[in-house]
């Protein structure tokens, strides 16, 4: 979202100090919204690893919103067969452009991950480390944008 605006720039040193106001034409580099390649959450969104593909089959909010979200996953192997022996070893939300996670440790409850915290708007990742007796260990990353 870019707009050309006439802004007032300011040089002031105290409450009653004189201000130097000057017109300047600058671009308003506001909130960029969701990048085209980072969609909002929709059910059945997939993340593909080397041997396991994960998909979101239920979510507390679709699309996902700021603060705490619960997602439930289903898993398939490379041939597309359902995997029922997958354990979610770790889960975290991660905001690449800030280089920080979602601060709150998610709760792992079988195929459900609770308390995925998106503490600000923008593009996020949901990173899962998976273990399966039949498909081995794998990591998958969901790319999801939090618009609001």
């Amino acid at each position: 979202m870019k707009r050309v605006l006439a802004l007032l720039s300011l040089l002031a040193c105290g409450d009653d100090a004189p201000t130097d106001l000057a017109d300047a034409s600058v671009e308003d580099d506001g909130f960029m919204g969701c990048p085209a390649d980072v969609p909002q959450l929709a059910l059945n969104n997939e993340a593909r690893g080397k041997t396991i593909t994960a998909s979101v089959v239920a979510a507390s909010r679709v699309p996902a919103r700021r603060y705490l979200n619960d997602w439930t996953f289903a898993f398939r192997d490379a041939a597309g067969n359902a995997l029922n022996d997958v354990t979610i070893a770790t889960a975290r939300t991660w905001m690449p452009v800030h280089g920080h996670d979602g601060l709150v440790m998610p709760q792992l409850l079988g195929a459900q991950v609770r308390r995925l915290n998106f503490n600000m708007r923008g593009p996020w990742e949901v990173q899962l480390s998976l273990r399966s007796a039949s498909a081995g260990t794998d990591d998958v990353v969901f790319h999801v944008c939090i618009a609001e």
Partner: protein, 462 residues
């Protein structure tokens, strides 16, 4: 008639006159949810807040009136501009519709000449400005788009900054939230950018006015850390919203305990400004730390501060906590002596800025650590089985409130009325045996459902 006027079907309905537009309850007729949220907010409470009233009264007295309109300029801008008060001392007798930071003040804002101490210019045209680019025409008032009100536009943060940076008459920058934001990663143009309202006015679907189209709206709660100390509409909702905003934006980044007994706790904020921020000289945020042995016996404790208890104690005083990790600003006068009240602050040779800060910094660059370390010296480190840690926060230090009580400006009962928040993200139990950390479930918050349901947004409350 009034309902139809909300979305332009009845142009014959007379436009609100200036007196009507100044009154937030008139906004309620077409914007009931916006009104309800605002009415619970600290913007509505700004000049009814007994701490504000007490501080302003004392400040006027101690400066022989030199404080003038300094406080009321932001706490009740329309009462000041309409001539119902000059210094805030008579604010209780000002018409209710003009108290606090009103709908009219923000939505008539045309420009900000300086991002501090409220140098907002109002348009004076009775056109209500907002962040909607295609407002539905209404006979009630003119409606226009403004970047100052568009939470996706960088310009909008300047409107917030006009009151959320405060420089005293003595030249001390006692509140620097906007400055902190501008220096942070959040304030830099690019993909990681967001505005003040982007975080503090969360978006949600809804109708801007009765009868209007479904749109992406934003909350008018502005949760920070302050809450009402006295009975106030939807006080519980505001409390729950603050618990979310605080609790999900800070964490314990790491803990370590050396064999020699040095316990290091790394604390981090995800806020787009320092934490605490705003009146950081009044704010109190601290780490509560309890090291326990395998039998649950306490081996070490710091920051175990009860409700209504003063946070800092002097050496020799019962409860003195020499290792207390306390995050706040300290103010000084022209002679370099510590002072509590912002009008007493001044620059000096010892303290050129008039203050010293110890607050959690925001992210300045991507992937660069911005934690602060709290270090404790423990005896019997080898016996420590677990360490319970809670980051806790109050809007105003009990010592500040006690000082206002002592000067006769504040009711002592308000001290107990002030909540202490535990920040859920920074409430953990850590085990030195295996280095694992778990969250304290008893501190869990439900966000945003907890406050949305209290405001009637989400059906029954969970």
């Amino acid at each position: 008639m009034l309902l139809a006027a909300c979305a332009d079907e009845t142009p014959e309905v007379a436009a609100f006159d200036r007196t009507q537009l100044l009154d937030p309850t008139m906004c309620k007729s077409c914007h009931p949810q916006h009104y309800r949220e605002w009415a619970s907010s600290m913007h509505a409470y700004a000049s009814d807040d007994p701490v504000f009233v007490a501080m302003n009264a004392r400040g006027q007295r101690e400066t022989n009136g030199a404080l003038g309109d300094f406080c009321v300029r932001c706490h009740a801008p329309m009462a000041l501009r309409e001539g119902f008060t000059r210094d805030g001392l008579s604010i209780a007798s000002a018409p209710t519709p003009l108290r606090g930071v009103t709908c009219f003040f923000c939505h008539e804002a045309l420009a900000t000449d300086a991002t501090m101490n409220n140098h907002v210019t109002l348009a004076g045209d009775l056109v209500m400005r907002g962040g909607i680019q295609d407002p539905v025409p209404t006979s009630a008032h003119g409606a226009a788009y403004s970047t100052l009100h568009d939470r996706n536009a960088a310009d909008s943060s300047r409107l917030c900054g006009s009151c959320h940076d405060v420089v005293t008459q003595g030249g001390v920058a006692v509140e620097r939230t906007f400055q902190e934001y501008q220096e942070s990663l959040f304030g830099k143009p690019g993909v990681g950018f967001d505005t003040c309202s982007g975080c503090h006015m969360i978006g949600k679907p809804g109708r801007a006015a009765i009868g209007g189209p479904e749109r992406e709206l934003h909350e008018h709660l502005w949760p920070g850390v302050d809450t009402a100390h006295t009975p106030w509409p939807d006080r519980e909702a505001q409390h729950a919203a603050v618990a979310c905003a605080l609790g999900l934006n800070a964490r314990i980044y790491g803990v370590s305990l050396s064999p020699l007994g040095e316990l290091i706790i790394k604390v981090e904020t995800a806020a787009g400004h320092n934490q605490p921020s705003g009146a950081s000289h009044d704010r109190r945020m601290w780490l509560e730390v309890q090291a326990l042995d395998a039998n649950g016996q306490t081996l070490f404790a710091s920051g175990m501060i009860g409700d209504g208890e003063r946070e800092e104690k002097m050496a020799g005083e019962p409860g003195f906590d020499p290792q207390l990790a306390l995050f706040r600003d300290w103010l000084y006068d022209a002679n370099g002596n510590y002072v509590k009240m912002m009008w007493q602050a001044a620059t000096s040779t010892s303290y050129p800025r008039g203050y010293t800060p110890l607050t959690l910094p925001p992210a300045l660059l991507p992937n660069v650590a911005h934690t602060l370390d709290a270090r404790y010296r423990l005896l019997e480190a080898a016996r420590v089985d677990k360490v319970r840690i809670r980051l806790r926060m109050r809007a105003v230090g009990v010592d500040v409130l006690e000082d206002l009580v002592a000067s006769g400006d504040l009711d002592r009962a308000l001290i107990a009325a002030q909540p202490t928040f535990t920040l859920f993200g920074a409430a953990v139990e850590w085990s030195p045996r295996d280095g694992t950390m778990r969250m304290l479930e008893e501190e869990a918050v439900l966000c945003p459902e907890a406050y949305e349901c209290l405001l009637g947004d989400a059906g029954s409350c969970p």
